[in-house]
Symmetry: D3
Subunit: 134 residues, 6 copies
């Protein structure tokens, strides 16, 4: 059984590879590399897979999962600049892929070990990534 | 090839474990345990996976799948109280996980055996479960 | 300028006119009159119309509007039975129209008098009502 | 007859009133005043109202309306920082209200005079504004 | 009080003005004039405005409104070619504007005279029209 | 890591098995076999799975994936009649299953070989198929 919880955060970012020139960053990342940043309403589904607890009928209490998501990810990322304000992106280009990976790593420490964690992240309604830890 | 069909039902329920005191139920299930019930617009995707029939170009005729979904699940659950009106939830706490499991069991008897059945159920736009029979 | 804020609540209800027999209620309201209730994920947009404050650039601070919506409506209605748990529906049939009217009356006392208030309420994705106080 | 066209743009911004101290800006605008910016996927519906051309069956050719929207607004705002990159927001706090107003003013010059223009703008799925020029 | 009901229909059409050459039709309507047709999932909201019946709490019973929509419009248009299969479009170019107008005219005969009728029609998620009878 | 890109196309089609009589086609495919065609707004998610490039932080540049989707599929299918205008459906019944299969085959030649390709296609908001090449 899998259960998922949808949460959102609104952040600024730019795509930028340290060590590359501005021209090279612009060539590879195009308008996503605008030096003054742009931003997104990120939509993140956090999925956990595991057995149903026969007492509660839950895989995990979604109130608890929501609290983990907020404490570990959305309270940190929301209304922030991912490049400047979030230490976890130090030296990491905040592509949707890397945001999902960072969110997965932050939450996997807090999710009970018998549950498999997957992150699905919409950067826009057209661009989506999914990460399960490998 | 997988094909999915989306149907909805609108039901009342409360989360309640028989044998627990009201205080214990309230402690574990919070406002979801309100004795006078609350309710949801449930959205259910029913997925079947199998080969494409070379004559029809179908895995399964979605008109037939829709009929199975309605006869087995949505006509029974819609505009009903899951705790009081549905015999299948006798002694079963109607969490999203258990609703998906009951729906899967009701439909799996009617789906051709060579097709793999998966249920994806939205209790709200933020709370989702998925069940494939194990 | 109009600004709108979307909030949700999940409630049980039944359509039932006091003074009518059960048979008459069933005839008029059909399955919506199920005595054990059913329920919905209500989606409510609260709109206010008025001038933009030149200092803030706001018609109304949406943080304040959100607080009014929650205090006056969604905290009261969410995870409740509209017929049994909400005094405002005493003797009032909780159709979508009447829910919008009750919400409008609860909030209009708290919205500054120079702002025009409109409620748009989705009972399901297919059934919608809109009320502006007359 | 009204016709509407939906387009999107993804921008960074912060809410900030020039002449107020940082403390005052933080007090009024909260996390929306984060100095390093945050961002949104803005969704903008542009509506025009007028008679149907009997030859074409159009109020306005939506290909033309789309071109006006892109040239005047979304190509300018998309993947930009509204505070830093867009001259139209010089001295104007980029609240949703003011973004709708600036977009209205940019487009109203290009829309035929017999058509009434309305902008509906979603900053998030929960925060919406609508502006018709007064 | 306004109430709206959302229904859908899936139709083929082409934009084509009788009396114009194929070249002129292609010039004005572009790819929408493809001689072999294309198609859409049309989403139609039917709104009626009027007083709330104090007995039922309804402006109009949505079961009745749904039946009018289906009998007058969606059962006729669904899985049809609007240019070839629907007599109401004889000599009328099936733009979104004209589809909304035809639907309004078909339904206005069946809606009680004290209720104001409005049609809102999505041709795609980006193209919308609204018609209230003038 | 998986990344997905959502694109749309609007096409006419009919379900029709060559070699079957019209009566047999009507019996099996019902209103979907209307000889004058009907149509849909198809929504297609194209997913690729593979490792993240450590330089770019991308599995694949979505600008490149978007270009492949448009060149191979949506520019060909959009505003076309799938039965009459698209050579790839010669002798193939354009069910959602077969459309997903044709799109997969067109794109798989252009996607780097180390990436796994999956197509998810919505024919309507209720009918969905998913295909991964086997």
């Amino acid at each position: 059984m899998k259960v998922g919880r949808r949460e959102t955060f609104n952040s600024a970012h730019r795509l930028y590879k340290e060590g590359w020139s501005d021209a090279k960053n612009l060539e590879v990342f195009g308008k996503c590399s605008n030096p003054n940043y742009h931003g997104h309403n990120y939509v993140m589904e956090t999925w956990v897979e595991g057995p149903v607890n026969p007492d509660t009928g839950y895989v995990i209490d979604l109130k608890i999962l929501k609290q983990i998501i907020r404490t570990e990810v959305t309270d940190k990322f929301d209304h922030r600049n991912l490049n400047l304000d979030i230490p976890e992106f130090e030296g990491i280009n905040p592509t949707a892929e890397n945001i999902a990976k960072v969110a997965w790593e932050l939450m996997s420490k807090k999710i009970p070990a018998h549950l498999k964690l997957t992150i699905r992240l919409w950067e826009t309604e057209n661009n989506i990534v999914e990460y399960s830890g490998n």
